[in-house]
């Protein structure tokens, strides 16, 4: 299987502070890969550099076989940011219509993604009047437009109710089964078990990577939280 994302010797310095000292990472196609770590561990920075909006000082990033930020990638990556990047002064439908318009997607695809994130009944509501969770789902819907091959989702399930969270994870698995690759960040360790493989991050370093079960077996525990603690203490 070929890699959807290959990061080699990535180095990122921001405001004279080294955010990512030297990072190597490979993300396989058709998998759900979790990026786990506390806030400030570099999850968002790594995701931004894959999407192509974060400049880096050294190393290389290949995304779907192309250099990160390439023009040809613009219809192939779906990006969900932590601060739901939507127009709060537009309705759900207007938001999606605009993004669909830019992506050259049809009306049908708008209703398809609304259905996927369960916002059909809110479609005529102004985004500013949505709850935090609904806003996040609207932003997720914009990321799903055009059925991108690679989804970069920065903490997509924060603050959602458990039923919805389960539904979204089911959706993520359905997408992975269709061959899409998903990179999902979280600081909630219990979401780790739902990923095919994981990268545990701390201060810009990969502490460990592998399948959730292998990581737990290595640390002789059943809790991902424990895995993380034992890795940090071993340093």
């Amino acid at each position: 299987m070929s890699a959807a994302v290959r990061i080699s010797d990535l180095k990122i310095i921001r405001d004279k502070k080294t955010i990512i000292p030297k990072l190597n990472m490979e993300i396989e196609q058709g998998q759900i890969v979790g990026l786990l770590g506390p806030s400030g561990s570099g999850k968002t920075t790594i995701m931004r550099s894959i999407v192509g909006v974060q400049a880096f000082q050294a190393g290389s990033i290949a995304v779907l076989g192309l250099a990160a930020g390439s023009k040809q990638l613009r219809t192939r990556i779906g990006y969900f940011t932590q601060s739901a990047s939507i127009y709060t002064d537009l309705t759900c439908l207007e938001n999606l219509h605009y993004f669909a318009h830019i992506l050259g997607q049809s009306e049908i695809s708008v209703h398809e993604v609304l259905e996927l994130v369960d916002l059909t009944k809110n479609q005529r509501q102004l985004a500013s009047s949505l709850s935090g969770g609904e806003r996040a789902r609207l932003a997720l819907a914009t990321a799903l437009l055009g059925r991108p091959e690679l989804l970069i989702l920065d903490e997509p399930t924060v603050g959602l109710d458990p039923v919805l969270r389960r539904d979204l994870w089911n959706l993520f698995h359905k997408l992975a089964d269709q061959g899409k690759t998903l990179l999902i960040s979280s600081h909630v360790m219990d979401e780790a078990d739902r990923c095919d493989s994981l990268f545990l991050l701390r201060e810009g370093h990969v502490l460990a990577s592998g399948t959730p079960s292998a990581l737990k077996a290595d640390a002789h525990t059943h809790e991902m939280e424990e895995v993380f603690i034992s890795l940090v203490e071993r340093l």
């Binding site: 921001r14 999407v51 192509g52 909006v53 974060q54 400049a55 930020g69 023009k71 613009r74 219809t75 990556i77 990006y79 940011t81 601060s83 990047s85 939507i86 127009y87 709060t88 002064d89 537009l90 309705t91 207007e94 605009y98 993004f99 318009h101 830019i102 992506l103 050259g104 102004l126 914009t142």
Partner: protein
């Protein structure tokens, strides 16, 4: 370049405005109100009203569009939607032209309403063509918009963006020849005013009002400023951050 994406962006911005009826009302009613006040302030000196009101017809759309675009684009920069857009297949120029189209339409509506009020009930008389006056007002509005987009990249907060109005536009207003003829200014100020876009906007307005002189050169120079500022505005949109 895709007309579809430019038009889509313009439609999105107009929808945002439509959901904000108070801003639309302020945009259209505030200049009408100011014109009316001006009329009665100078009720004993109608010639002053004739002189100032015409020029203000061009200035109002510029001020309003400057404020709306500088705050609007700043909001787009800070809310993350700009970053989100720039990873999609839309070019910076398409985005800027989308803005220009949306605010051009808004400016057209404003200019038509305010000029109608001034030329109708308030009795403003101009020697030149009324259509020409509206065209000048729209060019002024686009100029205000392009300055607004450009300076918004130098502002981090909405407070800062709004402060660019006195910092960038008011000096131009003072030097434009609206308050005092440029010929009477110290030569250094006159030379500076030669390089400021507002000078030509006011000049064009005064020519249309007096019906004397050709506005061709003014329009040409304003077009150059407009293209340069829109281009500079497009360059300030960054796909990547450090």
């Amino acid at each position: 370049m895709s007309i579809r994406r430019i038009w889509g962006t313009a439609r999105r911005i107009l929808s945002q405005l439509r959901h904000d009826p108070r801003t639309i009302a302020l945009m259209i009613l505030a200049p009408c109100l100011l014109m009316t006040i001006l009329k009665y302030v100078y009720q004993n000196q109608p010639q002053v009203f004739q002189h100032v009101a015409g020029a203000l017809l061009g200035i109002f759309p510029m001020l309003v569009m400057f404020l709306i675009t500088s705050v609007g684009t700043l909001r787009e920069r800070t809310s993350g939607t700009l970053e989100r857009l720039l990873i999609l297949p839309i070019t910076k120029l398409e985005l800027i032209l989308g803005y220009a189209k949306a605010f051009g339409i808004a400016a057209l509506i404003q200019a038509v309403v305010v000029s109608s009020v001034a030329l109708g009930p308030l009795g403003l008389k101009i020697a030149g063509s009324q259509i020409m006056l509206i065209i000048v007002a729209i060019i002024d509005a686009l100029l205000g918009m392009s300055i607004g987009i450009f300076v918004s990249s130098f502002a981090k907060t909405e407070f800062q963006a709004v402060q660019f109005l006195p910092a960038i536009l008011f000096p131009q207003l003072l030097l434009s020849g609206l308050l005092a003829p440029r010929e009477s200014m110290p030569s250094i100020l006159r030379v500076i005013s030669d390089y400021l876009p507002l000078t030509y906007a006011v000049d064009a307005t005064q020519k249309v009002i007096s019906g004397q002189g050709s506005v061709g050169r003014d329009f040409l120079l304003l077009a150059v400023f407009l293209v340069a500022l829109l281009g500079a505005g497009a360059l300030t949109l960054k796909r990547q951050t450090k």
